[in-house]
């Protein structure tokens, strides 16, 4: 192409338009404003939060990464999984076991990647012919087998007592230090956010949406259904695996409870409540499942979380089909249409 910059320009616009939904109407000024606000928020959090809350926010980042993984699998590809916390746990236990044996961090990351790809594929393959609740049951089985292994193999995993994890330490920076934990977790979450946003601009992402909405139409377009589902499972496992790996170092402790059926269900809640198919939704969902229990505990009512959490889920599901993110983008759209008079009325054809 001779006019490369120009082509790039239109390409970016096309890709943006192709994303549709929440982002297509955003102007550059909005983007800039958001970036400035975000930077301000991060600085304020970094400077203003106590050590305890820095680690909590670090956990928000890591749960957000894992939620993005489940969003790819469930929110975008429509595959219901009840074992997402198991993928998270695999990563966490790699950190716990590998650091106990003095394996280098680089090699650990490679191991996490390898295990995530294998685990994702292992869960995906038998589920290719299943969908809905039957698929969920098979994924549940995977999660329960892992739980059983973690609890019974006491000599390897420490059993239900769990294991302590020595903080990650590179070049004098130590994740036992809350500010470091915060920055490293935020960095991983930003990478995940960029990659997930990019997925929305690719054919790989559109294949997943097509598989979710109509397998018949997807195959009529020439999309390889099994391949697309396996890719979604593997991506979900990679996101959760890396998040879990860092989680072990940030929290300094792993135990089977953190990766059982209930946390898996909470990840689903995060996807649905936050808003499926959007990165903003994963952030809101990740923040919710980490912060809500904390806030209820502060209010002196830790048990209310489960009850009110369920009620909130029902309310959001009824009032905001796109989750919290969908509600926000609807408000934003309304605000924009007040500013700029958009061509009104149905276009007919």
């Amino acid at each position: 192409m001779t006019d490369a910059p120009l082509a790039d320009e239109t390409e970016a616009q096309k890709a943006e338009a192709a994303m549709g939904g929440a982002t297509s109407f955003r102007t550059r000024r909005w983007r800039l404003l958001e970036a400035v606000l975000l930077l301000g928020l991060v600085t304020a959090l970094y400077g203003g939060l106590s050590a305890y809350w820095l680690v909590i926010v670090a956990q928000v980042c890591l749960y957000t990464v894992a939620t993005m993984g489940l969003d790819i699998l469930f929110g975008r590809t429509g595959q219901l999984s009840l074992s997402h916390a198991s993928f998270f746990g695999l990563g966490a236990y790699v950190a716990a076991l590998a650091s106990a044996h003095g394996i280098s961090y680089g090699l650990q990351l490679a191991i996490v990647l390898l295990i995530a790809v294998l685990a994702g594929a292992i869960v995906a393959v038998p589920t290719l012919r299943l969908s809905g609740m039957r698929l969920a049951l098979v994924t549940l089985l995977f999660g329960q087998v892992l739980q059983w292994f973690l609890i019974t193999e006491v000599s390897i995993t420490g059993g239900s007592e769990g294991m302590t994890v020595t903080p990650l330490s590179i070049a004098g920076f130590n994740t036992g230090e809350p500010h470091v934990a915060f920055v490293v977790s935020l960095a991983l979450a930003l990478v995940a956010t960029v990659v997930t946003a990019q997925l929305s601009r690719t054919q790989a992402g559109r294949r997943m949406l097509a598989v979710r909405d109509s397998e018949l139409a997807a195959s009529a377009c020439g999309i390889d259904l099994p391949r697309t589902k396996i890719q979604a499972f593997i991506l979900a496992a990679i996101y959760a695996g890396f998040a879990g790996w860092l989680y072990a170092y940030v929290v300094g402790f792993v135990a089977p409870d953190t990766f059982s059926l209930f946390p898996s269900a909470y990840f689903l809640v995060a996807v649905i409540l936050g808003g499926a198919g959007t990165v903003l939704g994963s952030w809101l969902g990740g923040a919710y499942i980490v912060l809500a229990p904390q806030l209820f505990a502060i209010a002196g009512q830790p048990n209310l979380f489960a009850i009110l959490g369920g009620a909130l889920l029902i309310v959001v599901a009824l009032l905001m089909p796109g989750g919290l993110a969908g509600g926000i983008s609807a408000l934003q759209r309304r605000a924009l249409s007040l500013q700029v008079r958009q061509p009104a009325g149905p276009n007919g054809r």
Partner: protein, 267 residues
């Protein structure tokens, strides 16, 4: 850019003694049709005549029990759906099956699948190969949206659009990768007379701009007359008449099978 379709006669579609049986039921009985290349061809017949079965057999959604389906110079009767799509054989559905919560543009872009894309890792890393593929897809999508007058609604969510527009979105998705053989299953179903005429105009316009063979299953005689140069009539899984649209629609056997009575539909 048409990477997957190199065969000179790619638009040629011929069925040779194709039979489809479901247990004891014979849906198609040794059907042989040489569809005229590059022509809009209507496939008519009463309910249960085997029209949709024929469409399913050609597109790979139904396995044939016997016979061959030749596209270009290749017998595709044993190919899977993806291999047929890659050869430029693409179908639509009787009810539009769309990604309801996505935009028109995203819906049409899904149809770019047969154009070929780099691996998922390359796509996620947004490497140059991915950027080229995405830019190419955008060009194809723009062209399809332009052909079907959908540019104005490109960024709208599909579930906010009227039925007739949704129908066009599906046709755009079928056409976007420039297939050589297009199979449409009752595209006018559920449309009022105005929308039907508009759809016929659009399909004709696209057909005139591109070299492609179009096979349309259709109940509506007006629509067939408006659009199809060639008509094949099926009944009980067999071809009972074929030829010029007017001649077939006037055929006594067709009128008997199709309408049960022998009134003159050609007038």
């Amino acid at each position: 850019m048409d990477a997957n379709v190199n065969t000179v006669n790619a638009g040629r579609l011929e069925l040779r003694a194709v039979s489809v049986r479901y247990g004891a039921l014979t849906a198609l009985e040794e059907v042989s049709i040489d569809f005229p290349t590059g022509v809009i061809c209507g496939l008519i017949g009463p309910n249960g005549a085997g029209k949709t079965t024929l469409l399913n057999a050609v597109s790979g959604f139904t396995q044939v029990s016997a016979g061959s389906i030749v596209v270009g110079d290749v017998d595709i009767a044993r190919f899977d759906i993806r291999e047929r799509v890659a050869l430029g054989v693409v179908r639509g559905f009787q009810t539009p099956r769309l990604l309801e919560q996505e935009t028109v543009r995203t819906n049409v872009a899904v149809g770019c699948e047969p154009l070929g894309h780099p691996s998922v890792v390359v796509q996620l890393a947004n490497l140059p190969a991915q950027r080229r593929a995405e830019a190419r897809d955008a060009l194809y999508v723009d062209e399809a949206l332009g052909l079907l007058d959908l540019q104005e609604v490109a960024s709208r969510r599909v579930d906010q659009l009227p039925f007739a527009t949704r129908r066009l979105v599906e046709v755009a998705r079928v056409l976007v990768a420039r297939p050589r053989i297009v199979l449409l299953d009752e595209p006018a179903a559920g449309l009022d007379a105005d929308d039907r005429d508009a759809l016929a105009t659009v399909i004709r316009r696209v057909h005139d701009e591109r070299a492609m063979t179009v096979v349309i299953v259709e109940h509506n005689v007006e629509f067939v007359r408006l659009l199809c140069q060639h008509v094949v009539a099926l009944d009980y899984g067999r071809v009972i008449s074929r030829g010029d649209a007017d001649a077939v629609l006037a055929d006594e056997a067709v009128r008997l099978a199709y309408f049960g009575v022998s009134h003159n539909v050609a007038s």
